[in-house]
């Protein structure tokens, strides 16, 4: 399929020139095309932030909700209609800061959705405050002395939560990122893809060069089924591994567990209430019984 299918034509994109978001957007379109995803079956869900504008720049269904709240609607959308491909795409502040609680519990819930996080280690849209992944020492208008808080390690936390698929990419490596996106989307169950994304305006520390110099790819010696090994890799700091860290033993998805699609694959919008059962239910409250 041609990636042009996902093109919205001549639209105004609100990102800064040179921003790492462009690469992610382009790569995602290509990944989707290679996976032959039909735009009419694709729902892009996001929160609020610079990254969270991405769904507007793609031809697909869009649910652009509240800051930090992409995962709950994404989970529900998939559950209400499992035939849709659902991608929740947002920024690091959105997903790990405001949305941190949903991040944890969505992983536990394991819906079959893909979670792409543009990790620029900063709050872009609100002008450069620290995000949960900001490195210690990063000076910002609010973190005047530099960041003090231990950076949030999404990969390690996701592994600790036994996420069903955990990977990390670097936006500028478009080919490898595309492969990781394809794996994440194709994966059945919750898939986290944390993507290093240079913010050329507000993060002068984690630049294209920095990411290049401070990352490497996991090779075959790493077994993504080994949770402890994956965790150890996730803790590496000097050079940050990229690739698939962890794939958990297969487990049922949220939609599977809901049970109602086992015999009847119809999405909820096609269903009607069972009036006979309702009548029975009401009758079960009859005073005489």
């Amino acid at each position: 399929m041609d990636a042009k299918v996902f093109d919205r034509g001549d639209i105004d994109i609100a990102w800064c020139p040179g921003c790492g978001n462009y690469a992610i957007l382009r790569t995602l379109r290509e990944a989707l095309a290679e996976l032959d995803v039909d735009p009419r079956q694709l729902v892009m869900v996001s929160g609020i932030g610079q990254a969270a504008k991405a769904p507007h720049y793609l031809r697909a269904h869009v649910f652009n909700g509240l800051h930090g709240r992409a995962l709950p609607p994404a989970t529900a959308i998939k559950a209400a209609n499992p035939s849709l491909t659902v991608i929740a795409e947002s920024g690091d502040g959105d997903m790990y800061g405001e949305g941190g609680n949903h991040f944890i519990h969505c992983i536990r819930r394991n819906p079959d959705i893909t979670n792409i996080v543009h990790n620029n280690m900063v709050y872009g849209l609100t002008k450069g405050q620290a995000s949960p992944t900001s490195p210690i020492g990063l000076k910002t208008p609010v973190q005047v002395d530099g960041v003090h808080l231990e950076p949030f390690n999404p990969v390690a936390v996701a592994i600790a939560l036994d996420a069903s698929f955990v990977a990390r990419a670097n936006a500028q490596d478009r080919e490898q990122t595309k492969e990781l996106m394809k794996k994440a989307i194709a994966h059945r169950g919750y898939a986290l893809l944390d993507v290093f994304q240079p913010c050329v305006t507000y993060n002068k520390l984690n630049t294209y060069q920095w990411f290049k110099a401070h990352t490497y790819y996991l090779d075959e010696s790493h077994d993504p089924r080994d949770r402890t090994a994956a965790f150890r890799r996730a803790l590496e700091r000097d050079r940050l591994p990229l690739g698939v860290f962890y794939v958990s033993p297969e487990k049922p998805t949220f939609e599977d567990n809901a049970g109602l699609y086992r015999e009847d694959p119809r999405p909820l919008y096609q269903r009607d209430i069972d009036l006979a059962r309702l009548r029975d239910l009401v009758q079960s409250f009859e005073a005489g019984t």
Binding site: N64, G65, P72, P73, A80, N81, L84, L260, Q270, L281
Partner: protein, 576 residues
């Protein structure tokens, strides 16, 4: 008939059970109400309980009558204290005419009881003799049944029914317990005025016995609800539990969210994908949903919220009742967007309004509230069969064409709503201000049009407003106004006033206030608002919408809610 007589008319007996949490008060209540109901009486039961799992002091008030009864009363005709301290817990409600059925050994010598008739029945000893102290509750049920003159066969059948599925030894032990309790009071008679007349009816066909939580839960199912995301919170949890229990039967997805924020955002996502979603919560949980409410306003997403009130602020009194979250429901969420707030009064309302809430939400693409409270959720009474023949889901989803635009403009403000995957179009919704397609915009003129569009729905939806119900003479001089759960108590109080110049006006849609309100208010010389809060919130809303201030207030905010007597008493004062 004098009012004192009426208060204790033998057509209506008030039985109060009082004990610790976990002591089985609920078993007694359940058995007794079913038993009386099956014997042909009408019953009403309401409970008050502490926010704890064991211990403390809880009570249930059961009214038994040969006529419909559905309001809480203070007076106790027959008291069954099940533990030490039980009498103290309800002491203010005891009068010399209260008859006590209990174990003197447990109750002790409480001064207030000295004036009362006391039937001392050794429940525990009887139960132990049968083989288990736990049977003492059933002994009590037997004794109560005996006192109230229920046939022993009815009693046995009920006990058997209740314990059906347990090992037969247990069933038979319990039947024996009931029998022995029954026998223990064989020799005694209740005072004449507490004697129930023979029920003049068998249960009407399809007559139901259920509580508010069940009415709302079934209403949701009738409304086509197939997605529930919520976080437990008293007193809203029974609706969640009910729907979870029924989930398999009706193909409902019921998910306990990590918090209320997730719950409401899931529900909105579910509606987006074509589900009919409900959240059920209480004040503090709803406070956390208010950003999500605003999201529904902006996305023009349907949403149904069951908000069961309890006393606040903050954690307040988790298991008590109040009507103080009305203003929050009316004004919650930043920015301006329409909404509908329905407040069931009767159990039938709980069913039909909840059912309707889903259709209204879908039709106007607005959030619709079902505003109840702990009193409503936990009270039950005998009610005529629900009208099911016209139940059917009004779906408002369109098949989209290639050029579909989610926010196409039109006079009513309502745009056809598509869902992803149904049709050729793309469904784009955005919490930012957006264009007709749904994409983010900062165009000032478009902004104005979109605000106008959203607010236009607030006018359109008035067409489907649920009118208030006037009970009493249309040429009233005094108008007693109430809303939501106080329906029955106020109705009974007003009827007991026996004044042909006084009527009651009950609102089951509290927002937007139906248009004829000013007419109703203008016709009255005195208007009395009866509300379960400290600041007359609905009175304020009426003032705002109808331009007329109510003249008198009857407020309650002690957490226990209104009784018929307290309303009556206050109304008598005001209307004297």
């Amino acid at each position: 008939m004098g009012s004192a007589m009426r208060d204790r008319s033998n057509g209506d007996i008030s039985v109060v059970l009082c004990g610790q949490a976990g002591q089985g008060v609920q078993t007694v209540e359940f058995l007794l109400t079913r038993l009386m109901s099956r014997a042909g009486y009408q019953v009403f039961a309401t409970k008050e309980y502490m926010s704890r799992i064991r211990g403390g002091a809880n009570s249930t008030t059961i009214r038994v009558s040969d006529r419909p009864v559905a309001g809480a009363v203070d007076r106790i005709d027959l008291l069954i204290p099940l533990n030490e301290g039980a009498v103290e817990h309800v002491v203010s409600r005891i009068s010399a005419r209260t008859v006590v059925l209990g174990e003197r050994q447990i109750t002790g010598d409480v001064p207030v009881l000295r004036a009362c008739t006391f039937f001392d029945v050794p429940f525990t000893a009887i139960a132990s003799a049968i083989g288990n102290k736990l049977y003492s509750n059933v002994v009590a049920v037997g004794a109560i049944a005996g006192l109230l003159g229920i046939g022993a066969e009815h009693l046995r059948a009920s006990v058997r029914h209740f314990f059906a599925g347990k090992p037969s030894g247990v069933v038979e032990d319990n039947v024996r317990a009931a029998d022995e309790g029954y026998a223990a009071v064989a020799k005694v008679d209740l005072p004449h005025e507490l004697t129930l007349s023979e029920p003049n009816r068998v249960p009407a066909r399809g007559e139901l016995l259920l509580n508010g939580g069940e009415a709302v839960g079934m209403g949701a199912i009738a409304g086509g609800c197939n997605f529930v995301s919520s976080y437990p919170m008293s007193p809203s949890t029974p609706v969640l539990t009910f729907l979870a229990q029924q989930a398999k039967n009706f193909g409902t997805i019921v998910e306990q969210a990590e918090d209320e924020i997730a719950a409401v955002n899931m529900a909105i996502g579910a509606w987006y994908a074509g589900a009919r979603a409900l959240v059920t919560t209480s004040g503090g949980g709803f406070a956390l949903m208010t950003e999500g409410l605003s999201l529904a306003g902006m996305l023009e997403s349907p949403l149904v919220i069951h908000l069961a009130q309890r006393p606040g602020p903050a954690t307040g009194l988790p298991t008590r009742t109040e009507q103080a979250d009305l203003e929050m429901a009316v004004y919650a969420g930043h920015g301006e967007f329409p909404r509908i707030i329905l407040a069931p009064g009767t159990l039938a309302d709980g069913f039909h309004l909840t059912q309707r809430a889903f259709d209204l939400a879908d039709k106007y693409q607005v959030p619709v509230f079902i505003l109840t409270d702990q009193y409503y959720i936990d009270s039950y009474y005998s009610t005529p069969a629900f009208e099911l023949s016209r139940i059917g889901v009004e779906k408002h989803i369109v098949n989209t064409s290639r050029d579909y635009r989610r926010y196409e403009s039109g006079a009513t403000g309502v745009s056809p709503r598509g869902v992803p995957g149904y049709g050729e179009g793309l469904v784009v919704v955005d919490s930012d201000e957006h264009d007709e397609e749904g994409h983010i915009t900062e165009d000032a003129q478009l902004r104005v049009r979109m605000v106008d569009k959203r607010l236009a729905k607030g006018v359109s939806l008035l067409r489907d407003a649920v009118p208030p119900e006037l009970v009493g003479p249309p040429d009233y001089r005094n108008l007693v106004i109430c809303w939501g759960s106080t329906y029955h108590a106020v109705k009974e109080a007003v009827s007991r006033l026996e004044r042909d110049d006084t009527a009651m006006l009950h609102y089951r849609q509290v927002y937007p206030v139906p248009a004829d309100t000013a007419d109703y208010l203008r016709r009255a010389e005195r208007t009395v608002i009866v509300e379960g809060n400290a600041t007359a919130q609905f009175g304020q809303l009426l003032h705002l919408q109808a331009g007329i201030a109510v003249t008198h207030q009857v407020l309650n905010y002690d957490g226990l809610g209104f009784s018929v007597e307290r309303i009556l008493h206050r109304l008598r004062d005001i209307l004297a």
